[in-house]
Symmetry: C2
Subunit: 270 residues, 2 copies
Protein backbone atom coordinates (compact mmCIF):
# COMPACT_ATOMS: atom_id res chain seq x y z
CA UNK A 1 0.00 0.00 0.00
CA UNK A 2 1.18 3.49 -0.83
CA UNK A 3 2.32 5.45 2.20
CA UNK A 4 0.08 8.42 3.00
CA UNK A 5 1.54 11.90 2.42
CA UNK A 6 1.56 13.93 5.63
CA UNK A 7 2.21 17.67 5.69
CA UNK A 8 3.62 18.95 8.98
CA UNK A 9 3.60 22.61 10.04
CA UNK A 10 3.41 24.73 13.19
CA UNK A 11 3.53 28.30 14.45
CA UNK A 12 6.48 28.15 16.86
CA UNK A 13 8.94 27.86 13.95
CA UNK A 14 10.69 24.99 12.24
CA UNK A 15 13.40 24.61 14.92
CA UNK A 16 11.05 24.26 17.91
CA UNK A 17 11.05 20.97 19.86
CA UNK A 18 7.28 20.60 19.39
CA UNK A 19 7.42 20.20 15.62
CA UNK A 20 10.29 17.75 15.97
CA UNK A 21 8.15 15.54 18.23
CA UNK A 22 5.32 15.66 15.69
CA UNK A 23 7.62 14.88 12.74
CA UNK A 24 8.91 11.82 14.61
CA UNK A 25 5.41 10.42 15.08
CA UNK A 26 4.15 11.36 11.60
CA UNK A 27 7.11 9.72 9.89
CA UNK A 28 6.15 6.36 11.43
CA UNK A 29 2.83 6.54 9.57
CA UNK A 30 3.65 8.08 6.22
CA UNK A 31 5.87 10.15 3.97
CA UNK A 32 6.42 13.47 5.71
CA UNK A 33 7.04 16.89 4.17
CA UNK A 34 7.57 19.84 6.51
CA UNK A 35 6.77 23.44 5.55
CA UNK A 36 6.99 25.67 8.62
CA UNK A 37 7.74 29.29 9.52
CA UNK A 38 11.36 30.43 9.75
CA UNK A 39 10.55 32.39 12.93
CA UNK A 40 8.01 32.20 15.78
CA UNK A 41 4.50 33.06 14.59
CA UNK A 42 2.45 32.58 17.76
CA UNK A 43 -0.73 34.62 17.90
CA UNK A 44 -0.77 35.22 14.15
CA UNK A 45 -4.29 33.82 13.84
CA UNK A 46 -5.48 33.39 10.29
CA UNK A 47 -3.15 36.11 8.95
CA UNK A 48 -1.96 35.85 5.36
CA UNK A 49 0.73 37.85 3.59
CA UNK A 50 -0.74 39.95 0.79
CA UNK A 51 1.50 43.01 0.47
CA UNK A 52 4.89 41.28 0.51
CA UNK A 53 6.56 38.45 -1.37
CA UNK A 54 7.20 35.21 0.48
CA UNK A 55 10.47 33.31 0.72
CA UNK A 56 10.67 29.54 0.73
CA UNK A 57 13.94 27.73 1.43
CA UNK A 58 14.83 24.04 1.52
CA UNK A 59 16.52 23.31 4.86
CA UNK A 60 18.19 20.39 6.63
CA UNK A 61 16.51 20.20 10.02
CA UNK A 62 15.26 16.61 10.26
CA UNK A 63 17.13 13.47 9.16
CA UNK A 64 15.78 11.98 5.90
CA UNK A 65 12.77 14.35 5.88
CA UNK A 66 12.07 16.97 3.21
CA UNK A 67 11.77 20.30 5.01
CA UNK A 68 11.18 23.90 3.91
CA UNK A 69 11.18 27.09 5.93
CA UNK A 70 8.93 29.96 4.91
CA UNK A 71 9.10 33.67 5.71
CA UNK A 72 5.32 33.94 6.10
CA UNK A 73 2.60 33.05 8.57
CA UNK A 74 1.44 29.49 9.35
CA UNK A 75 -1.46 29.93 6.90
CA UNK A 76 1.01 31.08 4.22
CA UNK A 77 3.02 27.89 4.90
CA UNK A 78 0.03 25.67 4.16
CA UNK A 79 -0.85 27.56 0.98
CA UNK A 80 2.76 27.39 -0.25
CA UNK A 81 3.04 23.72 0.71
CA UNK A 82 -0.01 22.78 -1.30
CA UNK A 83 0.49 24.99 -4.34
CA UNK A 84 4.28 25.32 -4.66
CA UNK A 85 6.09 22.57 -2.72
CA UNK A 86 3.64 19.68 -3.27
CA UNK A 87 2.10 20.89 -6.51
CA UNK A 88 -0.34 18.30 -7.92
CA UNK A 89 0.21 15.75 -5.14
CA UNK A 90 -2.64 14.65 -2.89
CA UNK A 91 -2.00 15.48 0.78
CA UNK A 92 -3.64 12.80 2.94
CA UNK A 93 -3.26 14.57 6.28
CA UNK A 94 -1.99 17.88 7.63
CA UNK A 95 -0.80 18.03 11.23
CA UNK A 96 0.15 21.27 12.95
CA UNK A 97 2.12 21.62 16.17
CA UNK A 98 2.87 20.30 18.66
CA UNK A 99 2.20 23.78 19.96
CA UNK A 100 4.04 24.90 23.08
CA UNK A 101 0.94 26.06 25.00
CA UNK A 102 -2.83 25.65 25.03
CA UNK A 103 -5.08 26.22 22.04
CA UNK A 104 -8.22 25.21 23.90
CA UNK A 105 -11.32 27.39 23.96
CA UNK A 106 -10.98 30.91 22.53
CA UNK A 107 -7.25 30.42 21.92
CA UNK A 108 -8.20 28.73 18.65
CA UNK A 109 -9.00 32.12 17.15
CA UNK A 110 -5.61 33.67 17.91
CA UNK A 111 -3.63 30.52 17.21
CA UNK A 112 -1.30 30.17 14.25
CA UNK A 113 -1.17 26.42 14.89
CA UNK A 114 -4.92 26.00 14.55
CA UNK A 115 -5.23 28.51 11.71
CA UNK A 116 -2.72 26.48 9.70
CA UNK A 117 -4.79 23.34 10.35
CA UNK A 118 -7.99 25.18 9.45
CA UNK A 119 -6.46 26.48 6.22
CA UNK A 120 -5.60 22.90 5.27
CA UNK A 121 -9.20 21.88 6.03
CA UNK A 122 -10.44 24.73 3.80
CA UNK A 123 -8.26 23.24 1.06
CA UNK A 124 -10.06 19.92 1.54
CA UNK A 125 -7.25 18.24 3.51
CA UNK A 126 -8.01 16.30 6.71
CA UNK A 127 -6.25 18.18 9.42
CA UNK A 128 -5.33 18.13 13.12
CA UNK A 129 -3.75 20.75 15.36
CA UNK A 130 -1.91 19.39 18.41
CA UNK A 131 -1.12 21.53 21.45
CA UNK A 132 0.49 20.70 24.79
CA UNK A 133 -0.46 22.79 27.82
CA UNK A 134 3.17 23.71 28.52
CA UNK A 135 4.59 26.96 27.11
CA UNK A 136 8.24 26.15 27.94
CA UNK A 137 10.88 25.34 25.36
CA UNK A 138 11.83 22.25 27.38
CA UNK A 139 8.27 20.91 27.55
CA UNK A 140 8.07 17.10 27.87
CA UNK A 141 6.34 15.89 24.68
CA UNK A 142 6.63 12.18 25.56
CA UNK A 143 3.12 11.71 26.99
CA UNK A 144 1.66 13.58 24.01
CA UNK A 145 3.61 11.39 21.62
CA UNK A 146 1.99 8.31 23.15
CA UNK A 147 -1.46 9.47 21.97
CA UNK A 148 -0.69 11.24 18.72
CA UNK A 149 -0.24 8.21 16.41
CA UNK A 150 -3.71 6.91 17.33
CA UNK A 151 -5.33 10.22 16.52
CA UNK A 152 -3.42 10.56 13.25
CA UNK A 153 -4.33 7.01 12.23
CA UNK A 154 -7.97 7.69 13.01
CA UNK A 155 -7.91 10.71 10.72
CA UNK A 156 -6.09 8.81 7.97
CA UNK A 157 -8.33 5.75 8.07
CA UNK A 158 -11.75 6.74 9.34
CA UNK A 159 -13.23 9.87 7.84
CA UNK A 160 -16.19 11.16 9.81
CA UNK A 161 -17.76 13.41 7.19
CA UNK A 162 -17.01 16.88 5.92
CA UNK A 163 -15.15 19.48 7.91
CA UNK A 164 -12.46 17.12 9.02
CA UNK A 165 -10.55 19.34 11.37
CA UNK A 166 -9.66 18.50 14.96
CA UNK A 167 -8.36 20.77 17.71
CA UNK A 168 -6.44 18.45 20.06
CA UNK A 169 -5.11 19.73 23.39
CA UNK A 170 -3.04 17.63 25.75
CA UNK A 171 -2.78 18.30 29.48
CA UNK A 172 0.63 18.78 31.11
CA UNK A 173 0.57 15.38 32.82
CA UNK A 174 2.58 12.17 32.79
CA UNK A 175 1.58 9.25 30.59
CA UNK A 176 0.04 7.49 33.57
CA UNK A 177 -1.89 10.54 34.74
CA UNK A 178 -3.66 11.18 31.41
CA UNK A 179 -7.10 9.56 31.78
CA UNK A 180 -8.01 9.33 28.09
CA UNK A 181 -9.67 11.41 25.40
CA UNK A 182 -12.88 13.48 25.57
CA UNK A 183 -14.80 14.80 22.57
CA UNK A 184 -15.76 18.35 23.49
CA UNK A 185 -17.13 21.66 22.39
CA UNK A 186 -15.08 24.86 22.62
CA UNK A 187 -15.50 26.44 26.08
CA UNK A 188 -16.83 30.00 26.03
CA UNK A 189 -13.81 31.51 27.79
CA UNK A 190 -11.80 34.61 26.95
CA UNK A 191 -8.68 36.58 27.74
CA UNK A 192 -8.82 39.61 29.98
CA UNK A 193 -6.02 41.83 28.77
CA UNK A 194 -3.61 44.01 30.55
CA UNK A 195 -0.90 46.10 28.95
CA UNK A 196 2.49 46.53 30.55
CA UNK A 197 3.40 50.16 29.94
CA UNK A 198 6.98 51.39 29.71
CA UNK A 199 9.35 53.73 27.97
CA UNK A 200 11.99 52.74 25.44
CA UNK A 201 15.65 53.91 25.60
CA UNK A 202 14.73 57.08 23.67
CA UNK A 203 11.93 57.91 26.11
CA UNK A 204 8.98 56.96 23.88
CA UNK A 205 6.10 55.09 25.51
CA UNK A 206 5.29 51.49 24.60
CA UNK A 207 2.56 49.00 25.50
CA UNK A 208 3.15 45.28 25.76
CA UNK A 209 0.27 42.86 25.69
CA UNK A 210 -0.31 40.44 28.53
CA UNK A 211 -3.46 38.93 29.95
CA UNK A 212 -5.29 36.39 32.03
CA UNK A 213 -7.40 33.49 30.75
CA UNK A 214 -10.86 33.65 32.31
CA UNK A 215 -13.36 30.80 31.96
CA UNK A 216 -16.97 31.25 33.04
CA UNK A 217 -18.11 28.16 31.12
CA UNK A 218 -17.66 25.32 33.59
CA UNK A 219 -19.77 22.74 31.72
CA UNK A 220 -18.48 19.15 31.52
CA UNK A 221 -18.77 19.00 27.73
CA UNK A 222 -16.10 21.67 27.19
CA UNK A 223 -12.43 21.35 26.32
CA UNK A 224 -11.39 23.40 29.35
CA UNK A 225 -13.21 20.98 31.68
CA UNK A 226 -11.65 17.93 30.00
CA UNK A 227 -8.12 19.32 30.29
CA UNK A 228 -8.60 20.38 33.90
CA UNK A 229 -9.79 16.86 34.71
CA UNK A 230 -6.87 14.99 33.18
CA UNK A 231 -8.23 14.26 29.69
CA UNK A 232 -6.97 15.05 26.23
CA UNK A 233 -9.61 17.28 24.60
CA UNK A 234 -10.67 16.89 20.98
CA UNK A 235 -12.89 19.59 19.49
CA UNK A 236 -14.03 18.99 15.89
CA UNK A 237 -13.82 22.47 14.39
CA UNK A 238 -14.93 24.36 11.29
CA UNK A 239 -14.73 27.74 9.59
CA UNK A 240 -18.38 28.81 9.73
CA UNK A 241 -18.66 31.83 12.04
CA UNK A 242 -22.40 32.35 11.49
CA UNK A 243 -24.32 32.85 14.73
CA UNK A 244 -27.37 30.78 13.78
CA UNK A 245 -29.16 31.46 17.05
CA UNK A 246 -28.87 35.23 16.61
CA UNK A 247 -29.86 34.85 12.97
CA UNK A 248 -33.15 33.25 14.01
CA UNK A 249 -33.77 35.78 16.76
CA UNK A 250 -33.09 38.71 14.48
CA UNK A 251 -35.38 37.38 11.78
CA UNK A 252 -38.20 37.61 14.32
CA UNK A 253 -37.55 41.25 15.24
CA UNK A 254 -39.98 43.65 13.56
CA UNK A 255 -37.46 46.41 12.98
CA UNK A 256 -35.19 43.95 11.21
CA UNK A 257 -38.08 42.68 9.13
CA UNK A 258 -38.68 46.24 8.06
CA UNK A 259 -34.97 46.56 7.40
CA UNK A 260 -35.25 43.95 4.70
CA UNK A 261 -37.43 46.39 2.82
CA UNK A 262 -36.14 49.44 1.02
CA UNK A 263 -35.54 52.71 2.87
CA UNK A 264 -35.48 51.29 6.38
CA UNK A 265 -32.49 53.41 7.27
CA UNK A 266 -34.92 56.29 7.79
CA UNK A 267 -37.51 54.08 9.50
CA UNK A 268 -35.32 52.66 12.21
CA UNK A 269 -33.43 55.84 12.97
CA UNK A 270 -36.68 57.82 13.23
CA UNK B 1 -29.59 61.73 27.17
CA UNK B 2 -25.91 60.90 27.24
CA UNK B 3 -24.42 60.36 23.80
CA UNK B 4 -23.28 56.79 23.19
CA UNK B 5 -19.53 56.18 22.97
CA UNK B 6 -18.58 54.66 19.61
CA UNK B 7 -15.16 53.15 18.93
CA UNK B 8 -14.15 53.19 15.26
CA UNK B 9 -11.39 51.05 13.80
CA UNK B 10 -10.47 49.32 10.53
CA UNK B 11 -7.74 47.31 8.81
CA UNK B 12 -6.92 49.53 5.83
CA UNK B 13 -5.23 52.08 8.09
CA UNK B 14 -6.31 55.33 9.70
CA UNK B 15 -5.86 57.43 6.53
CA UNK B 16 -8.05 55.30 4.24
CA UNK B 17 -11.23 56.85 2.76
CA UNK B 18 -13.35 54.00 4.15
CA UNK B 19 -12.73 54.81 7.82
CA UNK B 20 -13.38 58.49 7.12
CA UNK B 21 -16.82 57.63 5.72
CA UNK B 22 -17.57 55.55 8.81
CA UNK B 23 -16.36 58.25 11.22
CA UNK B 24 -18.66 60.75 9.51
CA UNK B 25 -21.72 58.57 10.05
CA UNK B 26 -20.76 57.45 13.56
CA UNK B 27 -20.22 61.03 14.74
CA UNK B 28 -23.86 61.86 13.91
CA UNK B 29 -24.96 59.24 16.45
CA UNK B 30 -22.49 59.53 19.30
CA UNK B 31 -19.13 60.50 20.68
CA UNK B 32 -16.50 58.92 18.46
CA UNK B 33 -13.00 57.76 19.37
CA UNK B 34 -10.83 56.28 16.61
CA UNK B 35 -8.03 53.78 17.26
CA UNK B 36 -6.79 52.34 13.98
CA UNK B 37 -3.62 50.88 12.46
CA UNK B 38 -0.88 53.23 11.26
CA UNK B 39 -0.41 51.08 8.11
CA UNK B 40 -2.52 48.71 5.98
CA UNK B 41 -3.36 45.49 7.84
CA UNK B 42 -5.53 43.65 5.33
CA UNK B 43 -5.50 39.89 5.68
CA UNK B 44 -4.15 40.01 9.23
CA UNK B 45 -7.04 37.90 10.51
CA UNK B 46 -7.16 37.61 14.29
CA UNK B 47 -3.42 38.21 14.69
CA UNK B 48 -2.19 39.79 17.91
CA UNK B 49 1.25 41.14 18.74
CA UNK B 50 2.89 39.14 21.51
CA UNK B 51 6.63 39.36 20.92
CA UNK B 52 6.93 43.11 20.30
CA UNK B 53 5.88 46.29 22.09
CA UNK B 54 3.08 48.34 20.57
CA UNK B 55 3.14 52.06 19.80
CA UNK B 56 0.12 54.28 20.23
CA UNK B 57 0.14 57.88 19.01
CA UNK B 58 -2.49 60.64 19.20
CA UNK B 59 -3.00 61.98 15.66
CA UNK B 60 -4.97 64.74 13.95
CA UNK B 61 -6.78 63.02 11.10
CA UNK B 62 -10.46 63.92 11.61
CA UNK B 63 -11.84 67.33 12.63
CA UNK B 64 -13.00 67.44 16.27
CA UNK B 65 -12.57 63.66 16.69
CA UNK B 66 -10.13 62.00 19.11
CA UNK B 67 -7.95 59.70 17.02
CA UNK B 68 -5.02 57.39 17.75
CA UNK B 69 -2.85 55.38 15.41
CA UNK B 70 -1.38 52.09 16.55
CA UNK B 71 1.58 50.10 15.26
CA UNK B 72 -0.21 46.75 15.74
CA UNK B 73 -2.92 44.69 14.10
CA UNK B 74 -6.65 45.57 14.06
CA UNK B 75 -7.19 43.25 17.05
CA UNK B 76 -4.36 45.01 18.91
CA UNK B 77 -6.12 48.34 18.20
CA UNK B 78 -9.32 47.17 19.88
CA UNK B 79 -7.46 45.81 22.91
CA UNK B 80 -5.47 49.05 23.28
CA UNK B 81 -8.59 51.16 22.75
CA UNK B 82 -10.46 49.41 25.52
CA UNK B 83 -7.67 49.00 28.05
CA UNK B 84 -5.38 52.00 27.45
CA UNK B 85 -7.19 54.76 25.51
CA UNK B 86 -10.70 54.38 26.98
CA UNK B 87 -9.75 52.84 30.31
CA UNK B 88 -12.79 52.46 32.57
CA UNK B 89 -15.26 53.92 30.08
CA UNK B 90 -18.16 51.89 28.70
CA UNK B 91 -17.99 51.49 24.92
CA UNK B 92 -21.54 51.33 23.55
CA UNK B 93 -20.67 50.25 20.04
CA UNK B 94 -17.60 49.31 18.02
CA UNK B 95 -17.70 49.76 14.25
CA UNK B 96 -14.95 48.54 11.96
CA UNK B 97 -14.41 49.59 8.35
CA UNK B 98 -15.67 50.61 5.93
CA UNK B 99 -13.44 47.97 4.38
CA UNK B 100 -12.31 48.49 0.82
CA UNK B 101 -13.38 45.05 -0.47
CA UNK B 102 -15.63 42.14 0.43
CA UNK B 103 -15.64 40.35 3.77
CA UNK B 104 -18.50 38.06 2.84
CA UNK B 105 -18.30 34.29 3.21
CA UNK B 106 -14.88 32.84 4.06
CA UNK B 107 -13.25 36.28 3.83
CA UNK B 108 -14.36 36.81 7.44
CA UNK B 109 -11.62 34.50 8.66
CA UNK B 110 -8.78 36.38 6.92
CA UNK B 111 -10.21 39.82 7.52
CA UNK B 112 -8.61 42.32 9.89
CA UNK B 113 -11.80 44.39 9.74
CA UNK B 114 -14.00 41.55 10.97
CA UNK B 115 -11.40 40.29 13.46
CA UNK B 116 -11.35 43.73 15.09
CA UNK B 117 -15.14 43.65 15.33
CA UNK B 118 -15.05 40.12 16.72
CA UNK B 119 -12.44 41.07 19.31
CA UNK B 120 -14.74 43.87 20.49
CA UNK B 121 -17.61 41.36 20.71
CA UNK B 122 -15.36 39.07 22.79
CA UNK B 123 -14.84 42.03 25.13
CA UNK B 124 -18.63 42.30 25.50
CA UNK B 125 -19.03 45.28 23.15
CA UNK B 126 -21.76 45.31 20.47
CA UNK B 127 -19.95 45.39 17.22
CA UNK B 128 -20.38 45.70 13.45
CA UNK B 129 -17.92 45.31 10.60
CA UNK B 130 -18.82 47.17 7.39
CA UNK B 131 -17.34 46.28 4.01
CA UNK B 132 -17.98 47.63 0.53
CA UNK B 133 -17.46 45.33 -2.46
CA UNK B 134 -14.99 47.73 -4.07
CA UNK B 135 -11.26 47.31 -3.49
CA UNK B 136 -10.25 50.65 -5.03
CA UNK B 137 -8.97 53.62 -3.04
CA UNK B 138 -11.52 55.83 -4.80
CA UNK B 139 -14.47 53.61 -3.98
CA UNK B 140 -17.81 55.48 -3.75
CA UNK B 141 -18.96 55.12 -0.12
CA UNK B 142 -22.09 57.28 -0.56
CA UNK B 143 -24.61 54.44 -1.08
CA UNK B 144 -23.10 52.59 1.91
CA UNK B 145 -23.37 55.73 4.05
CA UNK B 146 -27.10 55.86 3.34
CA UNK B 147 -27.61 52.51 5.11
CA UNK B 148 -25.01 52.59 7.86
CA UNK B 149 -26.76 54.93 10.35
CA UNK B 150 -29.80 52.66 10.46
CA UNK B 151 -27.71 49.59 11.19
CA UNK B 152 -25.69 51.42 13.85
CA UNK B 153 -28.86 52.73 15.50
CA UNK B 154 -30.35 49.25 15.53
CA UNK B 155 -27.27 47.93 17.33
CA UNK B 156 -27.27 50.84 19.79
CA UNK B 157 -30.97 50.65 20.62
CA UNK B 158 -32.20 47.13 20.09
CA UNK B 159 -30.01 44.37 21.48
CA UNK B 160 -30.95 40.97 20.09
CA UNK B 161 -29.25 38.80 22.68
CA UNK B 162 -25.71 37.67 23.28
CA UNK B 163 -23.08 37.50 20.58
CA UNK B 164 -23.90 40.89 19.18
CA UNK B 165 -21.65 40.95 16.20
CA UNK B 166 -22.72 41.69 12.63
CA UNK B 167 -20.81 41.18 9.38
CA UNK B 168 -22.29 43.73 6.98
CA UNK B 169 -21.33 43.71 3.31
CA UNK B 170 -22.56 46.27 0.81
CA UNK B 171 -22.73 45.65 -2.94
CA UNK B 172 -20.98 47.99 -5.37
CA UNK B 173 -24.22 49.60 -6.57
CA UNK B 174 -25.84 53.01 -6.58
CA UNK B 175 -28.25 54.06 -3.84
CA UNK B 176 -31.20 53.37 -6.16
CA UNK B 177 -29.93 49.95 -7.22
CA UNK B 178 -29.53 48.57 -3.68
CA UNK B 179 -32.70 46.56 -3.05
CA UNK B 180 -32.53 46.39 0.77
CA UNK B 181 -31.04 44.23 3.48
CA UNK B 182 -30.99 40.42 3.79
CA UNK B 183 -30.18 38.48 6.97
CA UNK B 184 -27.93 35.63 5.85
CA UNK B 185 -25.65 32.81 6.81
CA UNK B 186 -22.01 32.75 5.70
CA UNK B 187 -21.73 31.09 2.26
CA UNK B 188 -19.44 28.05 2.16
CA UNK B 189 -17.07 29.51 -0.43
CA UNK B 190 -13.29 29.58 -0.51
CA UNK B 191 -10.24 30.99 -2.23
CA UNK B 192 -8.32 28.94 -4.75
CA UNK B 193 -4.77 30.20 -4.50
CA UNK B 194 -2.13 30.76 -7.05
CA UNK B 195 1.35 32.07 -6.40
CA UNK B 196 3.07 34.44 -8.79
CA UNK B 197 6.69 33.28 -8.87
CA UNK B 198 9.58 35.60 -9.64
CA UNK B 199 13.16 36.49 -8.81
CA UNK B 200 14.27 39.54 -6.85
CA UNK B 201 17.08 41.90 -8.00
CA UNK B 202 19.67 39.66 -6.34
CA UNK B 203 18.36 36.57 -8.15
CA UNK B 204 16.58 34.94 -5.20
CA UNK B 205 13.16 33.36 -5.86
CA UNK B 206 10.00 34.78 -4.33
CA UNK B 207 6.33 33.77 -4.25
CA UNK B 208 3.49 36.28 -4.17
CA UNK B 209 0.01 35.23 -3.12
CA UNK B 210 -2.93 35.71 -5.42
CA UNK B 211 -6.13 33.75 -5.88
CA UNK B 212 -9.65 33.37 -7.12
CA UNK B 213 -12.83 33.37 -5.04
CA UNK B 214 -14.82 30.21 -5.75
CA UNK B 215 -18.37 29.75 -4.49
CA UNK B 216 -20.11 26.38 -4.73
CA UNK B 217 -22.78 27.36 -2.22
CA UNK B 218 -25.50 28.98 -4.34
CA UNK B 219 -28.27 28.87 -1.72
CA UNK B 220 -30.52 31.92 -1.38
CA UNK B 221 -29.94 32.24 2.37
CA UNK B 222 -26.23 33.07 1.94
CA UNK B 223 -24.43 36.39 1.96
CA UNK B 224 -22.89 35.74 -1.46
CA UNK B 225 -26.37 35.27 -2.99
CA UNK B 226 -27.70 38.44 -1.34
CA UNK B 227 -24.81 40.55 -2.62
CA UNK B 228 -25.02 39.11 -6.12
CA UNK B 229 -28.72 39.96 -6.18
CA UNK B 230 -28.43 43.58 -5.12
CA UNK B 231 -28.92 43.31 -1.37
CA UNK B 232 -26.80 44.37 1.58
CA UNK B 233 -25.94 41.16 3.49
CA UNK B 234 -25.96 40.97 7.28
CA UNK B 235 -24.51 37.83 8.88
CA UNK B 236 -24.75 37.69 12.68
CA UNK B 237 -21.42 36.15 13.65
CA UNK B 238 -19.70 34.60 16.65
CA UNK B 239 -16.41 33.14 17.82
CA UNK B 240 -17.44 29.49 18.39
CA UNK B 241 -15.61 27.32 15.85
CA UNK B 242 -16.95 24.01 17.18
CA UNK B 243 -18.28 21.74 14.43
CA UNK B 244 -21.33 20.46 16.33
CA UNK B 245 -22.45 18.21 13.50
CA UNK B 246 -19.08 16.44 13.36
CA UNK B 247 -19.05 16.28 17.15
CA UNK B 248 -22.30 14.29 17.12
CA UNK B 249 -21.17 12.07 14.27
CA UNK B 250 -17.85 11.31 15.95
CA UNK B 251 -19.49 10.48 19.26
CA UNK B 252 -21.35 7.69 17.44
CA UNK B 253 -18.23 6.13 15.92
CA UNK B 254 -17.10 3.03 17.80
CA UNK B 255 -13.39 3.67 17.43
CA UNK B 256 -13.84 7.12 18.92
CA UNK B 257 -15.92 5.70 21.76
CA UNK B 258 -13.02 3.39 22.47
CA UNK B 259 -10.70 6.36 22.24
CA UNK B 260 -12.39 7.88 25.24
CA UNK B 261 -11.05 5.00 27.25
CA UNK B 262 -7.45 4.60 28.30
CA UNK B 263 -4.86 3.14 25.93
CA UNK B 264 -6.78 3.52 22.72
CA UNK B 265 -3.72 4.68 20.91
CA UNK B 266 -2.71 1.04 20.61
CA UNK B 267 -6.26 -0.11 19.86
CA UNK B 268 -6.92 2.11 16.92
CA UNK B 269 -3.52 1.81 15.34
CA UNK B 270 -3.61 -1.99 15.63
Amino acid sequence: MKKPLILVTNDDGIVSPGIRALVEEASKLGEVVVVAPDSPQSGKGHAITIHDPLRLKRVKVFDHIEAWECSGTPVDCVKLAKHVVLKDRQIDLCVSGINHGSNASINIIYSGTMSAAMEAALEGIRSVGFSLLDYSFDADFKPAKHWIPGIMSFMLERPFGEGELLNVNIPQLSEEEIKGIRLCRQADARWVEKFVEGHDPSGQPYYWLTGEFVNNDEAEDTDVWALKNGYISIVPSKHDLTNYEALNTMKAIETVKKATEKQIAEDITA
